[in-house]
């Protein structure tokens, strides 16, 4: 765990602590556990934020879970007397849900993989000891600072069927024009492309930090061995970016699960373009348009379960590596 810090504090705490009144108290060490004075004095700091966050996150999830076991629709008061998993079975018989589930996975996998690849390539280019490195980095990361509502507006114009830049460029090589947003076959790909534009800068920043952590000697050694640049990166450098890949992909995957804002903004309504409905958009629509509250709660819980499958191993990995 927190190696240096822990040993330091432990050693420090074994000392006698001088009291202001001149007396001496033996301080309790950590190993005496819960009610050490260190614990008591830490309470006012972390407990208030913990309570607020705990109620908002975990309290709400528990409440939502119980709601998902009822049959609440409309503005009826939920009846918590007979709980069952009916909403979950209903979901797996619902073609809309299954379609949204499929789109969620397609978006998650395509977006995450491509983002990592683009981010890594851009990071390697930026890491070549170039001039104006800061300027390049800043420009590549800029889309990340914009709201999805904003970027959706820009991409609606880029994807515009007759006059958008994408179709004009494709027109030069004799392709198109395509209805990027209106065609259910194309819209998911168009959304993934736009989101890669927005997020690859993030992947780049994470990979850059990973590249900077690799000692220069390794680059040198590979070079002395006469390895080509490509080979060196593939064999020596990329394998060492495992940590960066894991943390970036967790963030990207969890984002892909909840990508609501961008899809909402493409139409300005709870109905995203046909063919791009994902669980996140379906849940909000079921909750606030169709008023199927229990059903929407069940979809929310399933999204939470998917997120848990991603983050639980990650947190465990971080804990084992002593990163927490």
């Amino acid at each position: 765990m927190r190696g240096k810090l822990a040993t330091f504090v432990r050693r420090a705490l074994r000392r006698k602590r001088a009291r202001t009144d001149g007396g001496e108290v033996a301080t309790t060490s950590r190993s005496e556990g819960f009610l050490s004075d260190e614990f008591t004095s830490s309470l006012p700091y972390w407990l208030p934020p913990f309570v607020l966050m705990g109620l908002a996150v975990y309290g709400a999830i528990v409440w939502n879970f119980f709601l998902s076991l009822t049959n609440t629709t409309g503005f009826a008061v939920p009846n918590y007397a007979n709980l069952d998993f009916e909403m979950y079975t209903r979901a797996f018989g619902d073609p809309v849900f299954l379609g949204a589930l499929q789109n969620t996975f397609a978006l998650l996998i395509a977006f995450t993989l491509l983002c990592l690849v683009v981010g890594m390539l851009v990071a390697i280019l930026v890491d070549q000891g170039i001039r104006y490195e800061n300027t390049f980095r800043t420009i590549y990361l800029l889309p990340m600072a914009l709201s999805f509502v904003v970027t959706a507006q820009f991409w609606l114009w880029m994807y515009n069927e007759q006059n958008g830049l994408i179709n004009i460029i494709l027109g030069v090589v004799g392709l198109g024009p395509y209805e990027w947003i209106a065609n259910p076959q194309l819209v998911l790909g168009a959304v993934v492309f736009a989101l890669i534009w927005q997020f690859s800068g993030y992947a780049m920043v994470v990979y850059l930090a990973g590249l900077r952590a690799i000692p220069t000697e390794q680059f040198e050694a590979a070079r002395v061995d006469g390895a080509s640049t490509l080979r060196m990166y593939w064999r020596v450098i990329v394998p060492q970016l495992k940590g960066a890949t894991i943390s970036a992909s967790v963030v990207l995957m969890v984002f892909a699960l909840k990508a609501f804002d961008f899809l909402y903004s493409l139409t300005g309504s709870y109905y995203p373009p046909k063919g791009s409905d994902i669980l996140a958009t379906m849940m909000v629509r079921q909750a606030f348009v169709a008023n199927n509250r229990a059903y929407a709660a069940a979809i929310g819980i399933m999204l939470f379960a998917l997120a848990l499958v991603i983050i639980a191993p990650y947190l465990l990995y971080q804990y084992r590596a002593g990163e927490l």
Binding site: F34, S41, S42, L52, M53, M283, F304
Partner: protein
Amino acid sequence: MTDTTPLTGDSWRRTALYAVLVLLVVFYLMPLWTGLMASIKADVLATAPFLPPAPGGFTTIHWTRAANALAGGLMNSLILAIPATILSALLGSMAAYGLTTLDWRYQVPVLMLFIAGIFIPYQAVLIPLSKFWASIVPISDLVGIVGLQGWVGDLIGLIITHVAYGIPICTLLFRTYYKDFNDEMVEAARIDGATTHRIYRRIILPLSVPMFAVTLIYQFTQIWNDLLFALVLVGPGAGAPVTVPLSQLGASLSEVGFGIRMAGAFVAALPTIIVYVLFGEQFAKGVAT
């Protein structure tokens, strides 16, 4: 590898490298550029999307209209983002101090609960959240008692919501920072008999300034950019943060209103762009953690 290692076949390689980097600049800026061009053309379709307006085709009408349409939203977003950002950063710093600098057993499981909170999909808490503000603590009715409009109450609820869900990421940011602190100073203060409060106020907080900059920049951007909470907890109307009216500007799939849409996108993004240009370094740090 920060120092340049010369490449073989040097000069043409360097040229190719810079060419690719510049192409990437074009790729990342193009959507903003075509948006900007569309926002200043009287007739959006008069020239190709990447070309500036034809002579005599320049107009500021879209910007004026967008600014008028979004002025109220901008104000609401400021009222929302500034207090929510400051509060969540402060609470995050406190939590990180209590879980890092103050060392006690079992703090890692507690910390894990904080960190897991960063990743939860908000769809899993949306209904309880909206019910909470609608019926358990109907804050928009409560503010009526002191003679305020209902939407002020909605905004207050939204501020508290953003603070609550912002605490996990802020805690993590400060935690990574405090972990690398040199403890000797804290230890010395402790041996001098300084209380934990005194240590926090006199030592930790002053040293936290750079991390506060990172957290404030990052959180401000996040809260300003949010649509989902704004939509569900406040919705369209007098109290709506700027992202809500922006998503409704212009007709979505036709060319109609593209000028005002693009101008609106820039108007709504202006504060975040300014913050990013001034503090890009801090934003990158916040993102990378």
